[in-house]
């Protein structure tokens, strides 16, 4: 390893301890001058308790408005290696499956052009290459695309969609999350690469209500797998769990949010009409219980982090939507395009769709995109009497 220009005692402390060390990771690429200076600058931040990265600037590949995020050092004279240290978001494959060959190709590209430092993965799901110069942007893009890879999203566009492991390795997947994620990503390439929305728009595809991709907290469109019919029960296997020490009453039936199940020592009786698909009983007994067979997804809209108007969780838009891959998800795409058109026209700059819905009212929003209100959309009906009545209510009364 090549020595950095300065000693780094503060961050060296973080090479100790049992958890894998990001400092060791950075030092593994310290033979590159760009990475050496990134390490030295990080030590300065540890000394001074402040970031030394400047605000991003406009950089990118020709014809795209996103995918590369400009990053510059405010200590460029001292650390010229990181004068330009841009981020490259590379669109990950569905559910983050790789072969070693594919990863080696990506490593070779990043070795040739950049710092050798990555995030596996960024918060939205992309493969992140951390630290390349402006000059390297086009060559990196050329090498990526020549090998079948493309950039992900950044800025006010459709961000890179992501999905859970789904039917590739999970018995609870209620639709094909990998296929849906791939299909939506490919269908909306223009919206992904060329920002023309009021702000970002994220998709996350979760195969069941366990929501392993945190879609309900982290995506403007949360697609959460669910089912309509009865939970599949194998009573003999329920009994096996009991024999192995599971307390069916305390640990399963009493924890059911609607108390829709009971166990008499032989049969797990479920009032499926009152099951809210919370997954607890299925999580507790994967061998004995499975989601029903009539499967699809609930579509929820609008979650986001606090900036600007406060954090939101997504709320129900379509209680149940079939997610047949053969349909190419045409219903979801139609809904999405209607939302984008409305929000695109009337949304304010940096206003996420969840905030937009709060500003214009969910009822107005539904009316404009052509969805009928259903009680599944609210926790409870309004409690205040300040109702804006339309004229049509008089027509119906007459």
């Amino acid at each position: 390893m090549t020595e950095t220009k300065r000693k780094t005692p503060l961050i060296d402390e973080l090479e100790k301890g049992p958890w894998p060390s990001f400092v060791k990771e950075m030092k593994k690429e310290a033979h590159k001058p760009i990475t050496r200076d990134a390490i030295s600058q990080l030590e300065r931040s540890y000394e001074e308790h402040i970031s030394h990265w400047k605000h991003g600037g406009l950089v990118g590949v020709m014809g795209y408005g996103g995918g590369v995020i400009g990053r510059y050092s405010d200590l460029a004279a001292e650390f010229p290696g990181v004068a330009e240290f841009h981020t490259f978001r590379v669109n990950q494959p569905s559910a983050w499956f790789y072969t070693s060959d594919a990863l080696r190709t990506l490593c070779d590209i990043w070795d040739k052009h950049g710092s050798g430092i990555t995030n596996m993965h960024g918060s939205t799901g992309d493969i992140v290459f951390l630290g390349g110069t402006t000059e390297a942007i086009e060559p990196i893009f050329a090498d990526l695309t020549a090998n079948g890879w493309d950039l992900g999203g950044s800025g006010s566009n459709m961000r890179t969609p992501s999905c859970c492991v789904g039917p590739a390795r999970c018995e609870w997947a209620c639709y094909d999350t990998l296929n849906a994620c791939y299909n939506i990503t490919q269908s909306f390439q223009d919206e992904l690469h060329r920002p023309f929305f009021p702000y970002k728009y994220k998709f996350k595809f979760a195969g069941c209500p366990n929501d392993c991709v945190a879609s309900i907290a982290r995506s403007d469109c949360s697609v959460i797998g669910t089912w309509k019919d009865d939970i599949q029960v194998n009573n003999a296997k329920v009994k096996d769990y009991e024999k192995q020490g599971l307390d069916l009453n305390a640990d399963v039936c009493d924890r059911c949010p609607t108390r829709c199940m009971s166990w008499d020592g032989k049969t797990l009786a479920i009032d499926n009409s009152n099951c809210v698909k919370c997954m607890h009983c299925i999580n507790m007994m994967p061998k004995a219980l499975k989601p029903g067979k009539e499967r699809g997804a609930t579509i929820l809209i609008g979650s986001k982090a606090p900036i600007v108007g406060g954090a939101l969780l997504s709320s129900v838009f379509v209680p149940f939507l079939e997610m047949d891959p053969e349909s190419e998800y045409s219903d979801l795409k139609e809904l999405t395009e209607a939302i984008w058109e409305l929000w695109g026209e009337h949304g304010k700059s940096r206003e996420r769709v969840g905030e937009f819905i709060q500003r214009v009212g969910l009822s107005n929003f539904l009316e404009e995109i052509g969805l009928e209100p259903v009680p599944e959309m609210v926790m409870h009906p309004r409690t205040n009497p300040y109702i804006f009545f339309d004229d049509e209510i008089f027509e119906k009364a007459e």
Binding site: G17, F97, T118, T145
Partner: protein, 358 residues
Amino acid sequence: MADERITDIGPPHYEQFLPEVIKKNYGKWDYHEILKPGVMVHVAESGDKLFTVRAASPRLLAITTIRKFCDIADTYCGGHLRWTSRNNVEFLLTDEKKIEPLIKELADYGFPVGGLGAKLSNIVHTQGWVHCHSSASDASGVVKAVMDELFPYFTGEKDLPAKTRIAYACCLNMCGAVHCSDIAILGVHTRAPVINHAELPKMCEIPTLVASCPTGAIRPATVDGKQSVEIVEEQCMYCGNCYTVCPACTINNAKTDGISVWVGGKVSNSRVPPKFSKLAIPYLPNNPPRWPEVVEAVVKIVETYAAHARKNERLGEWIDRIGWPKFFELIDQPFTKYHIDDFKHAGETFMRTAQLRH
């Protein structure tokens, strides 16, 4: 050359990366079982078995490490591996006998195996001082310091009542969307931005900057004969949105930036609906390289939860059962004026019942 340019191809199709056992049993998995911390088996309807070995990762990985993971995957897994939504790396294999040698090789290389079920998983986090301009603190460093101390909860040496998800974000932008985590650690700015009046007219559009403030604290002003803005400091809630749209509004402050701790959120729908995390500790000092005050507070919360919660009770469910007064007492932290919401809809969080524990 121009006509050879390749664009808009999107990601490669996932199918080419799936192991044969997955291609054969895609959508036909019967059940899974956690064999031990970090190791599980999925059994297909066909009877085929897929073993998964889950290893820790700092998220920030050198290509040297990724290449090593590739070599390991070639040796044990026919070259197949994946990452999880919490940045763990998973090795996928069909030969049960290779599990222990794989775990040993990963451990020798510095990547311990753990998580799954009622364990602590990896901390999802943001860039911090490694690569972000608006970070109030580092991210990777705080995560490393916390996970070094909570390591036995990852490996399974220590038990937890239910799965526990910690997340870290280095400012209120929350690139890690930490706001629905059992424990969220959040870097905070605590002072209004400092305006660089000389640079502002060159760098920023004033109407956009004024509109960016959610509380209307930014007003156009003429300073030394130049168009600029002024900040009504008592109206500023330090969100940093102005800094995002205008680099001349510096929000970072080495002396006053700090770290807050939030608790009780979740994203899964199991038992109770998804919940936001709520404020536990408004401000702890920014103290690299090991942030002892933050580590101590988080460890205290985890240990208290582990000692008091019932089986299958997430941290937020436990607090709902015992009540917030008891929670603050147990974690030995004061309840202050900062814990009371004063943003939009704040009244929804006031206690409007006499159902209190005395």
